[in-house]
Structures are given as structure tokens and as C-alpha cells.
Amino acid sequence: MEDKSKRYDRQIRIWGEHGQTQLENTQVCLLNCGPTGNETLKNLVLGGIASFTAVDAATVEPADLGTNFMLDADNLGQTKAKCVCGHLKELNESVNGSFVDEKPETLIESNPSFFTSFTLIIATQMGEASLLKLDELCRQSNIPLIIARSYGLMGYLRVCSDELCVVETKPDNKVEDLRLGAPWPELEKYVMEFDMNSLDDKTYKHVPWAIILMQAARKWKDEHGGNLPSSYKERNELKAQIRSIRRSLDEENFDEALSNAHWIWALPTIGSEVRTVLESPKTEVHSSSSDFWVLAAALKNFYAATGDMPLEGSVPDMTSTTEFYLEIQRLYREKADADIAAVTVQLKETLNEIGRPSDAISPEDIKVFCKNARNLQVVWNTKFSEECEGSAAVGAELTRLMGLEDSSANAALYVLLRAADRFNATHGRFPGFFDSELDEDASRLKAVAMQILADQGVANVSVPDDLVAEMCRFGAAELHCVAAIMGGAAAQEAIKIITRQFVPLDSPLIFNAMSSNTTLIKI
């Protein structure tokens, strides 16, 4: 056990023990054991999932040895799934691995219930027809599906799931929830009774900037009919007032106060993602609603009652004496606890109404939910069928992207990948399979791509001939490096879905390995 926490130390620092536990309970199914699939699974096996099952019917051939690190020369002629399974298991002895020596396409047709025993399915290098069925199948059983594809110097990645509710979104640029312009009564009282003038010079230098700013804001409001400064001019006046009470120029707390003054008027907002959650019909909860939506319903009631979100409760470090800082920290923590208690009251009522025990959701889960209330997010990915079978949304998005300089090439690659799949369905081989037919294949591929654009209602745009020619040149090659990039990204999405932390993709992604950039196809 101690080895385990050491082994996973660097990742536990990112997703915590609870994230690691989720990972250790995950059973992954991989479809197709080419480099894209293996690289995805490699990253998850290293991270410590419970088990994996590798599905592939192929036998190992020489070309695999130029792209696939989970195979070696001794494996030639053997079952690919079995060999890959063996090499993957070497990476982490606590992970169980098994293999199924069948074609994924066959399995989807013959044994759909096979898929229901997994927590996550990763489908690699598969064509439209099978993926359409698999997406339906996974949605019925509420199992997330990740689709990854490497094709020459491009790649495609997509998450399929009706909804992914994330509490711990862990945004990069967190807005501090300090309420400096509108403190609650206990904080207001502390700040107003805080007598800065009587302090000696050394202590004066250690008055936390939060207090300096709240006193300044209070004074301003008293002199301006209860309003905070609203114009650039007024804000500068308030800053000038702060400057005027400095005793010397080496007061770092005042420097910090001036550079943080905007927190007085830049009140933390309620973002569109949270609004979407609060306004969702899913907050009309019933006995089979998930914990997330029951908590969201309670949060909605709290918001309706107070007009604000629960306080996050943490305070950034600031120049201060230990005593002042700990006192402020205590005030923020107590208010956060009070808000959690108020949400808990709402929650118990909600649970009662839907006939669930009032302690059905643990205090820890309520606390985490409240602390992250402002950053909650639900990610919806449209059905794969909506992407494939032609819809106004897809057409509009392709029209938009093809009109933008920095995304037109990637939108064209997206269309060409789908065209290559249709080409394969028609001809039984991918474009550029034979050296001798490269030029003919290019005209055929372009015709299919134009047909796809027409089907999606995209008019007056074409796919560039250079890209058509490159797609044929690729000849459906699965290059190791592109596979490692797509596999890395697929594993990253898997981790986000499994740990329920950070924000998974909400739309298909195109990776362009020629120019090293990515584009989301927002449907």
C-alpha cells in the first residue's frame, strides 16, 4: 500500500486519493490493438486502472513492428490481442488484463451484451457503420465511449456520452470568491472594528490587503449612497484614497492592495456553465435522479433564497501577520460552513420529497459540491448519428470553420477523413492503398468529400487539392507518433471521465500533425 501511494504520488497530486480510487475501480475495453489503441491503454495501465480487455482478431505481421511498441519480432504470426495484452500487463502488476480474439465489428453485431460489463469503452481505428451501433449501445447502458483515430498525419478524437457532470472542474484561472464589495455581516463587523490607525508602523505593514480594501470600499459606499465605484475615474479615485493612507512606500501590503483593488468591483459572476446547470429541466428531480442533479436542485433553491452561490471559503496568501491572516481565514471558513449547512437543509428537503433517505448523500460530497458550486459543468456530446447522418448544425459549423483562415484546413481534413471511410466502404480499401492509383484515388476521394459537404448543406466551398493529395499519400498509415499523440489525448479524456475531474471534450477534435494544431468541430 505504501508502495502504491509512492508509485502514484505524481498523479495523486493532480487528482487526489479519491480520483485515484475511481481509476482503480475502472474496467476498460479496448477495441483494436494498433498503436493508437495500445498507446491509449498504456497510459491508463500506468495510471492504475483495475483491468482491461483488448479486442482484436488480427495476427501480428511485419508492418506492426514498425509502428507498435507493444509487439516484438517474437510475436510475428501470433494473435495480436494476446501479445499486446501480455506486454501491457508488464507495465503494472496490479492491473488485470485479458484479451478477446475477435473483430470488434463482429462482436458489436453478435454479442452486444459483451460491452455492458465495462466502465469505459475505447474504440480505435473503426469506421462509421460500427461506431453508429456502438454509440447507441453504450448510451443505452450509460457507458462512456471514446473514439480515437490516427490517419497519416492527422487524427480524430471524440467523447460519446449523454451527459458528464463535473463538480471538480479545476479551472486554470480561478476567480477568488472574496466578496470585498459586499461582505456578510460577521466579516463586515470584523473589518469595521479593525482599527488600522492605532497600529504601530510594523504591524501597519502587515494589515492584510483584504482588510485595507474592504475598509476602503465601506468608506466609498458611505460617501456615495451605498454604491461601489463604477467608472474608471471613480476607481482611480478609490485607489488614490488607498494610497493616501500609506505611511511609507515600502509597505508591501499596500502594493498588494492596489494591485488587487479590482476585486472590489469585479464580483465573482455566475458563469454560463453553472447557469445551464441551474436552469436545466434535470433539476426537477425524482427518485432516480443522480446525486449530482439532486445536489444541483438543492443549490438552485439556495440560490433562489440567497441570490448567491455558497462561499468557496479559501483566502489567497497575502502579506499579513499570522494572527490577522488566520482570523480572516476563520471568518471565510465559517461562512462557507454556514452556506454548506444551508444547502444541506435544502438538500434534505429535496431528498425527502423524492423519497430518498435524508442522509443519502455524504457530508463530504455536499462540501465538495458547495466549494465548487461556481465552477460546476455538465458536458453533453451529441449522438454520433447526428454527426454522421447530416444535420443543419454540422453543416453550419463546417461552413463557419471553412471560412476561417486558421481552421479551414482542419475542417477539410475532418470531411476528408469521413470521405476516406466512405471510400473504404465502397472500394474495400482506403484511398492511396496502391502506389499506382494515387492520382485516380485523389479524384475519387475529392468527389466523395464534395458529396459529404453537399449532404451537410455546405455550399460554395471546396476541399483543397493539396489536402486531398496528402490524404491519398497517407494511405491510411497509422504512424507511431501520431498514434501516441491521439492515444495520449484519448487517455487524458478517459482520466477526466473516470475521475470526474477537469472538463472532458464536448465536441469532435481534429489534430493536424502537419501544422501541429487542433480544431474542435462544435456541433
Binding site: 508502495d3 488566520l326 504512424l479 507511431h480 495520449g488
Partner: protein
């Protein structure tokens, strides 16, 4: 040990890569010629160096070997630790304590036949510039700014310029660099004198958090303050001359206990052993998937550089994977006055300036870079420290204009122990006075 390919396999093994190397393309690098020749260059001629056999290094070795590079060297001073195993996939529990470079090289050769990986279990500074000179491309899998600056200095130091200021093409040694932190990472291509070097874009590296000592000593407010107090102040006061080593468990435990006591005294929550290790070792959280993405991007750019089989990255890609997936690829610009990679830093002096005065002026201008400089002009030593000091000392009192045989401009090469490569000074002598006199 390098493994030999089974008969008949080698030809068909590179089927997928050959689509790019044997077929002509419309979106390729300058001068790309598909065919057997470019394959031969890739497989048999090019020699690449991977610096670092850690999270990125393991991935890089795998990626380069499966991209057709067959002569690879790898250098790393570290040994394998249990906490590496969550991402450094070439290592097993039984390898803990062994050299990363040695084990990584062995594993890649076992798996990918025909590739030869030569390990170097040492510090990068232990190797002379000639060692680095021998490789065609250097790929960096490093985790520190210091190491990047060091190799940057060495590689930019190889640059030689023609008299007209243009660079001698054969002296350019390209580098590919990757870095990760959590779900974020970057890859970039550095072609010294063409694209920015590390020094040109030093601002890309975030400043490290350092706490003021007075905060640690007098007004601690967080667990990190208590831990750094134990580490930076208390250790020295109590354990005296004993050198602190974060890898000695007893040392770490002592710091942790001191930090706990301090935190209790001030009523500060949150000191744990895990947090203590994170703060003291400045641990950067790391996961396998980000390393895989960044390393593969670097290896792909190495392939493009080696063969021109596709357009190259221009010249920096940022990868952000925490909220969806967002990438930003941007062509950063060189700093024309970069003191590491530019043709020279412009410095103006008076006609009367002596060599000694110039050296004082330079030390004042670059206090971070120069302390005990040596100076040469057109391959001739003007002032050298060490065994030539006595011989060149008389030059100190001479005027620069005389040492440069009357020329009013030229490039001086300055070396200093503090520098990782030479500093070029583009000197211009204000000759206005000369005309008056």
C-alpha cells in the same frame, strides 16, 4: 544489446512510414525528395541525442525508435525511483535504483530490433562540447530551466558567422524541446540563429514561487511557509553543517516533524508528509498521457527536420488538456539582441577605450553573465585567463582600436565561467573623436 531483424521483415516493417518517405507530397518541407535515399539518411546516417530518460525521455526513445531513427544516444544522471513508475513506462519495480539511461536503452533495444541506443549515465555538464557536436539533432526531455539554459548555451556556441554577419549553415545544430506539467505541455523547435533560442524566450518559463525569509521567520500563514521554514532556516540552525538531502528519508522526516511543530505553534492546518515533499523537492505533478502527447509531437518534428517529409512546426505548440483540449501554435520571434544566439550584442565604445576598460564596461552591463571574462578577436586571443594570462596581460592597457588594427567595428568573442557558451559582442568604435584629432 542491439537485436537483429528477422530475415525478410525489415523491408515490409516500415510500410506505414514509407507512405510518407517514398511518395511525393504537396505539403512538404524544402527540398524533400521521396525515395530510398531519404530512408537511408533516416535509418543509417542520422545520429540523434535524447537528453533526459525520464517521463519525456522514455517516450522519446520509443517514439524515435519507431519513427525509423536507428542511432540514438541518451544521457541522464538519475537513477530510477518508485515514483517514476506511473509514467516512465520503460522501468519496472525491479529496476528501482538503477541508471535510467542504461535501463531505458536496454528496454528499447529489446523491443525494437535494429535500433542501437547508447546510454550515458552522467550529468550533461560532464560531457565536453565535442560530444554534443557529434549529433545531428538534439531532443530535450528536461524538467528544469537551468539544464535547458546550459545546453542552449553549448548549442548556440557552435554557431559561426561569416564576415557579413550571416550564419554558416553547417554550424546550426537543431534542437527539439518538450515540457509538461499536469495536463499542460509544450513542444517547440529550436533552430539556432533562425528560430528563438531558450534565452530569447526566457519569459515563457513561469517564475518560481519563493517566499520572503521574513515571512518564514516571523509571519507564517500557510503550511508551505512552515515547511520552508523548517527546510531553509531550521535545518541550518539545528543540524549545522550537515548537508540536507531530500532523498534521505530521515532528513525528509525531520523537516516534516519540524514543520508540524511550527504549524501547531501558529495554529496553521495542512502540513502533511506529501505536501512537505512537494514543497521541498519542488515536485511538478506529472501524468503519462501528457508526456506521451508532448514527446510524440517532439519526435514527429524530429522526423520532419530529418527528412523534410512534411511541413515543420512553426515553432512552438502549447497544449492545454484540463478544460477540453486546446492548443495554440505560434511562431515566436528571435530576440535580435539575444546574448546567447544572436550574431552579437551591439556595444559602443570610445576610440580611447582600452581592453581593460571595455572588460569593466561589459561586466557592468552583464553582471549576471560576466565576472572573469576572456576576450578574443578573429581567432586571436586578446586577453585569456589561465595559462595564457601572462602572455596576454600587456594587451589590457592597449586601446581596442589598436588591437583591432584600426577597424572601427568587429565581433569580439567573450568567454566567462558564468557563461555556457561564448558571448558575441558587436563592437562599434565611436570614431568621431578620431576625425577631430
Amino acid at each position: 544489446m542491439k537485436r537483429v531483424a528477422p530475415p525478410g521483415v525489415e523491408r515490409s516493417r516500415w510500410r506505414d512510414l514509407d507512405r510518407l518517405l517514398l511518395r511525393s507530397g504537396n505539403l512538404v518541407g524544402p527540398g524533400f525528395e521521396p525515395g530510398e535515399e531519404v530512408k537511408e539518411i533516416l535509418h543509417d546516417m542520422l545520429h540523434v541525442l535524447v537528453i533526459g530518460a525520464g517521463g519525456l525521455g522514455c517516450e522519446l526513445l520509443k517514439d524515435l525508435a519507431l519513427t525509423g531513427f536507428k542511432k540514438i544516444d541518451v544521457i541522464d544522471m538519475d537513477t530510477i525511483d518508485v515514483s517514476n513508475l506511473n509514467r516512465q513506462f520503460l522501468f519496472r519495480m525491479k529496476d528501482v535504483g538503477k541508471s535510467k539511461a542504461t535501463v531505458a536503452a536496454e528496454r528499447v533495444m529489446q523491443r525494437v530490433h535494429g535500433v542501437s541506443v547508447t546510454p550515458h549515465f552522467c550529468r550533461i555538464e560532464d560531457k565536453p562540447p565535442e560530444f554534443y557536436q557529434a549529433f545531428h539533432i538534439i531532443v530535450l526531455g528536461l524538467d528544469s530551466v537551468e539544464a535547458r539554459s546550459w545546453i542552449n548555451g553549448v548549442v548556440c556556441g557552435f554557431l559561426e558567422y561569416e564576415d557579413d554577419g550571416s550564419v554558416k549553415q553547417e554550424t546550426i545544430k537543431p534542437m527539439v524541446d518538450g515540457g509538461t506539467e499536469g495536463f499542460k505541455g509544450h513542444s517547440r523547435v529550436i533552430i539556432p540563429s533562425v528560430t528563438p533560442c531558450f534565452q530569447c524566450t526566457m519569459w515563457l518559463f513561469p517564475p518560481q514561487t519563493k517566499f520572503p525569509l521574513c515571512t518564514l521567520a516571523e509571519t507564517p500563514r500557510s503550511a508551505a511557509h512552515c515547511i520552508e521554514w523548517a527546510h531553509l532556516i531550521q535545518w541550518g540552525q539545528v543540524r549545522g553543517a550537515e548537508v540536507f538531502d531530500a532523498d534521505v528519508p530521515e532528513h525528509m522526516k525531520w523537516i516534516y516533524e519540524q514543520a508540524v511543530a511550527r504549524a501547531e505553534l501558529f495554529n496553521i492546518p495542512g502540513v502533511t508528509l506529501q505536501h512537505t515533499q512537494g514543497v521541498v523537492k519542488n515536485i511538478i505533478p506529472a501524468i503519462p498521457s501528457t508526456n506521451a502527447i508532448v514527446a510524440a509531437s517532439c519526435a514527429l518534428e524530429t522526423l520532419k527536420m530529418a527528412t523534410m517529409c512534411s511541413t515543420g512546426m512553426s515553432n512552438y505548440m502549447m497544449y492545454m488538456g484540463a478544460a477540453g483540449i486546446y492548443t495554440h501554435t505560434v511562431a515566436y520571434e528571435k530576440d535580435p539582441e539575444c546574448i546567447v544566439c544572436s550574431a552579437g550584442v551591439p556595444v559602443a565604445i570610445e576610440e580611447s577605450t582600452t581592453l581593460e576598460e571595455l572588460m569593466q564596461q561589459l561586466c557592468a552591463q552583464f553582471p549576471e553573465k560576466l565576472a572573469t571574462p576572456s576576450v578574443s578577436f578573429q581567432g586571436c586571443n586578446l586577453y585569456m585567463r589561465g595559462i595564457f594570462e601572462e602572455e596576454t596581460r600587456p594587451n589590457l592597457a592597449k586601446r581596442i582600436i589598436d588591437l583591432m588594427e584600426g577597424a572601427t567595428s568587429g565581433v569580439l568573442i567573450v568567454n566567462d565561467k558564468k557563461l555556457h557558451g561564448p558571448l558575441r559582442i558587436q563592437l562599434s568604435i565611436n570614431a568621431a573623436q578620431a576625425m577631430q584629432t
